[in-house]
């Protein structure tokens, strides 16, 4: 047994001496020892030859006396306690270990892992804030012993968040927050390189999608991390047995916050949630610059059209809509904004955009994109007015903003000219092109937000979880905004990482700002 090294060497030597003293081969004694144990049903031999098979039979004849058995137990103590219970306990421990070794996951193809790792590392270059947090987590282990079920878009940026949580000591399971947004190579890498169980396959059907959410909940978490509140709502509707163990959660996106606030208002929310979306370092940047750029990216990748000179209709002038309108204009489009809020509509007008009802915009638009969080923003009566070849897309969280069933009903034929484009032919021959099945186009056809903006969003996620770990028990069961100090700290870290310095107030300036007495 030359392979035995270190701590085991002494035990092996003692064992071999014992075998020698009774004049038997170590392998035969080992097998006989197992056969003496009533908790062992049938030990397995693995012969390569008939000789080896027949050699094993010696163990069957070998009767170890009480003294020998006692000495064996001294050399290598068992679990203690009577068989088989003591051994059954050992089996359980082993199974648990096996689970944490991620023998259970559901991803498309593990052979993609290496490509995934390279892309995760590429994204990390653009995520200096999260990297700093991960390095601190690795030293301080603020999440030690906690279990987190995460339901997020399975992208390179999310992978870096998962690695940060793991470095902080959390046991993490990840499932997809959208059936089309999963990057299969990233899922494979998390399973292979980080031993994080992932349940996500790009293009999975609805049934699989919810099966994966349940699999993530099987972890029996204390914390949830959501993007669209599917995890939280499944937990409250179908897995109420797990609510008792819950301490808190975070929510990434506007759509999820709207759902959660509705739950809290009904008194249905069973634990406190921090709305990461409400952080200024999230929605000022992620929703505006992230969605703005990546939505354009998704539309261009899906269609390969020139934006310049087109009439581009942006539905909704929230942070996402603002970002998209700004970038579309930057690329030379003639941008129209549709809104329902007078204040937001007025801002759009003052920002220099044309504002009109969707029914009018439908007649002139070349490209449409919805970013509202509401349903049927583009409906049957809008399709009826659209030009031949109109391109319709959505960048809101759910695929409900465009009334796809209505479009299906109106169409006489459906073609697929390119991946991510469904072309519906209407009775009069007009063609309406729906991108990415109406799912959020920046993730369906592109890669979601660039890493740099997700850096701040996910820094908020990581720090919110740390905050919940310390304060969850003091919070009520409602939706909380991120503490402002935390927000400012993330902005400071980001600037620092970008190498940008800013002025600081002088004492004189501070006094002036704090004083109500001084005027001109």
């Amino acid at each position: 047994m030359a392979w035995a090294r270190g701590r085991t060497t002494g035990a092996v030597a003692a064992y071999e001496n014992l075998c020698c003293s009774i004049g038997e081969k170590p392998a035969d004694v080992a097998l006989a020892w197992l056969l003496h144990n009533p908790a062992v049903a049938a030990p397995i031999i693995g012969p390569r030859t008939i000789d080896q098979l027949e050699g094993s039979l010696r163990a069957l004849e070998l009767r170890l006396d009480g003294d020998t058995l006692q000495r064996l137990d001294e050399i290598r103590p068992g679990p203690g306690g009577p068989a088989p219970e003591a051994y059954a306990w050992q089996t359980q421990t082993w199974r648990h270990t096996e689970n944490t070794m991620t023998s259970e996951f559901d991803v498309k193809d593990l052979s993609l892992a290496e490509a995934g790792r390279r892309r995760i590392q590429w994204a990390e270059l653009e995520m200096p804030v999260l990297r700093q947090i991960r390095e601190r987590f690795a030293k301080e282990h603020p999440l030690k012993g906690t279990k987190v079920s995460a339901c997020l878009h399975v992208t390179t940026e999310t992978a870096n968040l998962m690695r940060a949580l793991q470095a902080g000591g959390a046991e993490v399971v990840l499932c997809a927050s959208n059936p089309l947004s999963t990057q299969d190579d990233v899922a494979a890498s998390l399973v292979t390189h980080d031993e994080i169980p992932v349940y996500a396959i790009k293009g999975e059907d609805n049934e699989t999608y919810y099966k994966h959410i349940h699999a993530a909940l099987d972890l029996e978490p204390q914390f949830t991390m959501d993007d669209g509140a599917d995890l939280v709502s499944t937990l409250h509707k179908e897995r109420r047995d797990l609510l008792e163990g819950m301490r808190g959660g975070t929510e990434e996106t506007t759509t999820g916050v709207i759902r959660l606030r509705a739950m809290a208002a009904d008194g249905a929310l069973a634990y406190p949630i921090i709305a990461v979306n409400d952080a200024m370092t999230k929605h000022f940047f992620d929703n505006r610059y992230g969605t703005g750029q990546s939505t354009i990216d998704g539309i261009v990748r899906a269609t390969n059209i020139l934006i310049a000179g087109k009439t581009f209709v942006v539905a909704g002038y929230g942070w996402c809509g603002r970002g998209l309108a700004m970038r579309a204009r930057g690329m030379g489009a003639n941008v129209i904004v549709t809104e329902v809020e007078p204040l937001a509509a007025l801002e759009a007008v003052m920002d220099g955009f044309r504002v009109m009802p969707m029914a009018e915009a439908a007649e002139v638009g070349d490209i449409f994109c919805t970013l509202t969080g509401d349903i049927n923003v583009i409906d049957a009566h809008h399709f009826e007015r659209m030009k031949d070849g109109a391109i319709v897309s959505n960048s809101g969280h759910f695929n409900v903003e465009v009334n796809i069933p209505a479009l299906e009903a109106m169409a006489v034929e459906k073609r697929q000219p390119r991946p991510f484009i469904d072309q519906y032919i209407l009775k009069d021959g007009r063609r309406i092109n729906l991108l990415g099945e109406g799912r959020l186009i920046n993730l369906a056809a592109a890669e979601g937000h660039p890493a740099s903006v997700m850096d701040m969003s996910f820094a908020n996620q990581a720090l919110s979880l740390e905050y919940l770990m310390q304060h969850a028990d003091e919070l009520e069961n409602r939706v909380y905004t991120i503490p402002e100090a935390l927000d400012r700290e993330i902005a400071r870290l980001k600037l620092e990482a970008m190498g940008i310095r800013i002025d600081v107030l002088t004492e004189e300036q501070k006094t002036y700002l704090a004083s109500w007495e001084e005027g001109t």
Binding site: L31, A41, A42, I45, R48, L53, L60, E61
Partner: protein, 106 residues
Amino acid sequence: MGNTTKGSPISAPPNSREAQIDYTTLGRTGLKVSRLRLGTMNFGPETDEATSHRIIERAVDLDLKFLDTANVYGWKPGEGWTEQIIGRWLAQDGGRREKTVLATKV
């Protein structure tokens, strides 16, 4: 990974000629199995098919009728290789499947 055992209960072994192989009841399954189990991990990658078949035959001859395999055995050259070798042995003539208990992992 569960450890599943498939097979029909077989009665106590007939008289054995050489070493005595005890039988035991496997958990709550009602299956009677030999207390020594023939592991087949080497069948295919280490031991060729003909020798593998001779080892199984010798084992059965010795009343060791409890085979253990796994879907991944065969390893790099081809997962499932070992199960195929066992399958071809079982298919050779009648009654082999009924005489043996086969454990595998899924």
